[in-house]
Subunit: 392 residues, 4 copies
Amino acid sequence: MKLVPRLAEQGYRNDLVAERRAWMTAQTGSPLQHVGTFSLDMEACRGNIENPIGVAQIPLGVAGPLRVLGEHIEGDVYVPLATTEGALVRSYERGMVTLTRSGGATVRLERDENRVCPLFMFDDVAAAADFARRLPAHLEEVRAVAQTTTSHGRLLRLDVQQVGREVIVTFAYFTGDAQGMNMIVKATEAACQWIVGQGLATRFYTFSGYNSEKRASGSLMAGGKGKKVVAGATIPRRLAKAYLHATPEALHHLWQRTVIGHLQTAALGYNGHFANGLTALFIACGQDVANVANSAVGITHFEVTTGGDLYASVTLPSLSVATVGGGTGLGSSHECLQMMGCAGTGGALRLAEITAATLLAGELSFGAALASHEFVEAHETYGRNRPAEETP
Amino acid sequence: MKLVPRLAEQGYRNDLVAERRAWMTAQTGSPLQHVGTFSLDMEACRGNIENPIGVAQIPLGVAGPLRVLGEHIEGDVYVPLATTEGALVRSYERGMVTLTRSGGATVRLERDENRVCPLFMFDDVAAAADFARRLPAHLEEVRAVAQTTTSHGRLLRLDVQQVGREVIVTFAYFTGDAQGMNMIVKATEAACQWIVGQGLATRFYTFSGYNSEKRASGSLMAGGKGKKVVAGATIPRRLAKAYLHATPEALHHLWQRTVIGHLQTAALGYNGHFANGLTALFIACGQDVANVANSAVGITHFEVTTGGDLYASVTLPSLSVATVGGGTGLGSSHECLQMMGCAGTGGALRLAEITAATLLAGELSFGAALASHEFVEAHETYGRNRPAEETP
Amino acid sequence: MKLVPRLAEQGYRNDLVAERRAWMTAQTGSPLQHVGTFSLDMEACRGNIENPIGVAQIPLGVAGPLRVLGEHIEGDVYVPLATTEGALVRSYERGMVTLTRSGGATVRLERDENRVCPLFMFDDVAAAADFARRLPAHLEEVRAVAQTTTSHGRLLRLDVQQVGREVIVTFAYFTGDAQGMNMIVKATEAACQWIVGQGLATRFYTFSGYNSEKRASGSLMAGGKGKKVVAGATIPRRLAKAYLHATPEALHHLWQRTVIGHLQTAALGYNGHFANGLTALFIACGQDVANVANSAVGITHFEVTTGGDLYASVTLPSLSVATVGGGTGLGSSHECLQMMGCAGTGGALRLAEITAATLLAGELSFGAALASHEFVEAHETYGRNRPAEETP
Amino acid sequence: MKLVPRLAEQGYRNDLVAERRAWMTAQTGSPLQHVGTFSLDMEACRGNIENPIGVAQIPLGVAGPLRVLGEHIEGDVYVPLATTEGALVRSYERGMVTLTRSGGATVRLERDENRVCPLFMFDDVAAAADFARRLPAHLEEVRAVAQTTTSHGRLLRLDVQQVGREVIVTFAYFTGDAQGMNMIVKATEAACQWIVGQGLATRFYTFSGYNSEKRASGSLMAGGKGKKVVAGATIPRRLAKAYLHATPEALHHLWQRTVIGHLQTAALGYNGHFANGLTALFIACGQDVANVANSAVGITHFEVTTGGDLYASVTLPSLSVATVGGGTGLGSSHECLQMMGCAGTGGALRLAEITAATLLAGELSFGAALASHEFVEAHETYGRNRPAEETP
């Protein structure tokens, strides 16, 4: 058994990365030339990757303009999307142009928090109940302890849920522009240690699974795991027909029929393809892409207004996005965030709004392709289909 | 409103990609220098991306060796993982080394198919029932029509489900080494047109939502959306303690407690962090990363054997992986597949087995970090923690 | 600790039932006079109840006429409903009269089976996979063994699903007019013993939880646990307004809005109040009322037809009803089944059709009450509101 | 089409009930003699049933003694169970005796509330967000309005959730000993009218489906729909073996294996057969039996303690029970509540505790039957099996 070579200082220097890559080529026969072609500063990736050999190069396209009418951005943006699924960028672009021509997508944030949900174990249900009843009174002390570990996260509240002789405690935090899991896990662990130190409990696990990060669950609908964002727009009938090739009635009809399919398959929520847009945007922008598992749970709605237009909306109850920390500061990721004016501190809510508007665009275009039976055709001609604006 | 420039031949030539990138820099102020540094052949990306401006560079590390005892691979591999989550590669590596020292991960495939699930609409439930009863008799004709459109997909069977006056028909296909959605959607649409032409039905949508691609649903547990793969291994008590710093009992205890958290949060299945490994592997290997939404639904199990060792397993009912089509042939993706001997025709089942073994490694290491309360510490020191093999 | 008295022959004779009742009065102070007033033959209840002290008297009303256009009944019935929820009978009656005036509810059965899903345990995933692959070839032998235990149940097929080192096997049976769980559990246990005797497996549990009897689960949508039945009807606009006080558009609007609420609450399926009608009918007719937990999972759909009428449907994927066995032959239960021509052999499919039509009636009336904002008013005046037919 | 006869004063007088019953016999040929044998005061059922023809007689047995160590009852009770499923009473009795011999079941209530969740509709997501942000400030006014309609319900809080251009508002109430839906729906409707009157919103539906009453959903796990109750007990190893014929390890083994089955079937929560005990108790005690659909969602846990004993618990997050209103005051229902000291005001929390302890008993006995492979045998001999106490 040959371990991956252990190199000096964990091997982030370019020559050491190359040495490891060469070793890997020797072991596997793969040339790794593309992997070895990059401009990323590998030393800067310390803390993001281990055993580095280079980069994955993911094709990056842009879609837009997308007019976003949020509370953190009011204007047009171009959205970077990294994907290898043909027609995806073109489809999102079509939706964006439609939205922009229609006046833009209105976006609102309802909640902005993240959570860690340790579980405490007791000898019997009475002891667990005692703890569940007593803990809330210690909020201020717990908060003080949690915040000794971080200057960025802020403990908002504690929620307790007893299950048998366990108590799951939700530590809900505001984490600013960071996704913040490392930060709040550390804070929570400190708080749990304090709780034990006080004799309130004796045993705990820092993770109970209840927080539902990076996995899909029914509880995500109620929010609390990331940012809850809602985007909506009225698409005038004329523009729906011109750009989407579908009437408002056709899109509503599709919606109500495919809701049935979602119910029948026991899906969480309803959406056309949230995961596509989220994944492409997350890869482009240095997000933790595994958070697609929770972020893609949400609801799309297509309705006909009393005036005969289309009202379309998306609700993302548990969206995980960040503009500081993780991979957000690295090379192409940083540049992609810059493209949208979202890089660094103060960018996360703007990014959340853009993300919701992007998904709304994707739902419109995907739904329209299905409603108008153009989906196969679009995928047949993907990169070669006519750009959105030339259509009408 | 400024549209993204429309360039000659959709603009895949390097100079045109640069022109578009420069235009984007002018619009947004982002330098896009890292985005513009790549070796990928953009002409080859026609069909994978539109409006290209370059690439996203995602840090790529390697973990291994991972001994896989499957039916399509029996041997050790090194697994490329593209991520920006610190400690992830190190954690998977620890699990892989543990598995390999324990003799390897045994993997079995139970199903290998993909599906498209159109819905047919009727005037009333009686007409829908008639259709649902009559369609199965037309399997051979439907298959013949579907296969006029593809030489790779093979229609395995039709399943019908009536809901009100609709009938959802599952077209189940074998798609070989391709993920194959475009192929089987096209085949299904042809079949649906034939069904209408025969007067069996008059209206349909090609997608009902029932197939649950790129979204999470309860029906995924039963398989049918991609490959169903199961991986398992016995970890001798001694090695569990040495490499994972946890006894079999400790891991089982963690499992049974956190299952409670999963039930309480109304999660689909149970797992520690399938999405992490899947995402990193999918980005590295040119997979359709949005398929993480369905692929991450599955079940991990930690048990203590009668001999006092640990038996750990992962079950992935709906794993979407491919080695031909999509982004699998491009630059670094192709090289990453080559690293594992999975590039091209004949590689998909091998890739599925490696993926399952990789996730098993990740579950072991993550579970152990939680059980031993080392999770925070590991994330504090991520790239700097001691390599796995040095531990004991 | 005083045990409930042990009486001769388990104490089903009337005097012994009275003796036990008197003892219970002595212990608890409850007079139990109503409990002791009954005409049920307690000796006949041997096999249905233990430690009997009398009966629960549940108020029984009737609703109808309900015109059912099924394949096992074509005509009008009156439906017995036992409940204490005021307005329930009146509400169902309103729906039934509306359906009947509209020509009746069309009903179709798609599946008729019941299942037991034992799990087999193996040492590792390879052994489990071997079993999963080999078992299907033994279908005929397994069937032969299963059927040595019963002359009524018929093993239709075996489905296997591997999870880790377990294999869950679905034994799907046709059980005729019986709900049949005791019968098919016994048959399955015999089959499992045979499987072990053949050396195919060594350890099993007869129940894995997968069958989802008496509990709600996503897998119920696909059927297999009881009878799958679909009922639908076109309600002319004029009649919708006259009887339901709501236009087709109003009912559709309500539907699409409240589907959102169901998605948001992570419900299984969608319906207004299936559980109400099912419970009232099940109590009246001697069904196993706990089966409401699985039977109530289903989908209601309200649509506006192209002609401007209402199309309403209900889909019950996992309905458990029976006309032989259990409590179906006892006193008032038998009489209630007789009322609908469903008593005894040959009645179960007819009962399934009537049940589906009944639920459709209930969904129409309940939905209409919400859409027209008459719900509170109806419950305020329940037993006193104007009978349905007097309305227009 | 013959309507059910319209009789004087809605026909609750005994002679009118008999007249209706005779008419029904004439229509259907069913003698309805058992239906017509009852002591229930039909006039008192006005408000519980319409078109009454008599009663359903459901066999009623008793199980116990059950020692409950709650905060509203500390002592032994006998529990009335109305069912036609043979072996059910005997099985619950076995569990109860086991619990009692082990010192009793400890029970704790965590929440006690009920909810109505109207939805408000707006023209766009911005207007919906405005409403969602502004409403909480009106809590006191809303509460004042709601409470003009009821002296029993108390509005605890308002929770808002935006979905697209809708806002679902949870009105959470304390309802005392009543299940209280009629009361709180009326209060909520008054509050909604006030909200509209204030110009805060213009359109609403009183029900969104979000409250999840009488249906199963993921959100029920978090409580809020009824009483949340947890019951647990330590069963000494010796007693587990003597009464349950299973070691603690055997029960834990069964639990961990069948949790897998629950996950695989996409079940909500985990339990052996909550629905059985709930249904039998609800029918006996005049509860709204349709509430089994929500009440049966919960979690059972079997663990081995460090001392080698069994710790068993049940968690019922959304239990609907009442001791005033509905059918609780009628004939046999009232007597059954009296048996447990739960009739009338002040009884509901006691009833909730007894219910949880009863289900714990049922889970122990059912689980043990499966673990010891005695399930079939028990059902073969049901009414004839040896009483629990004689076993050891």
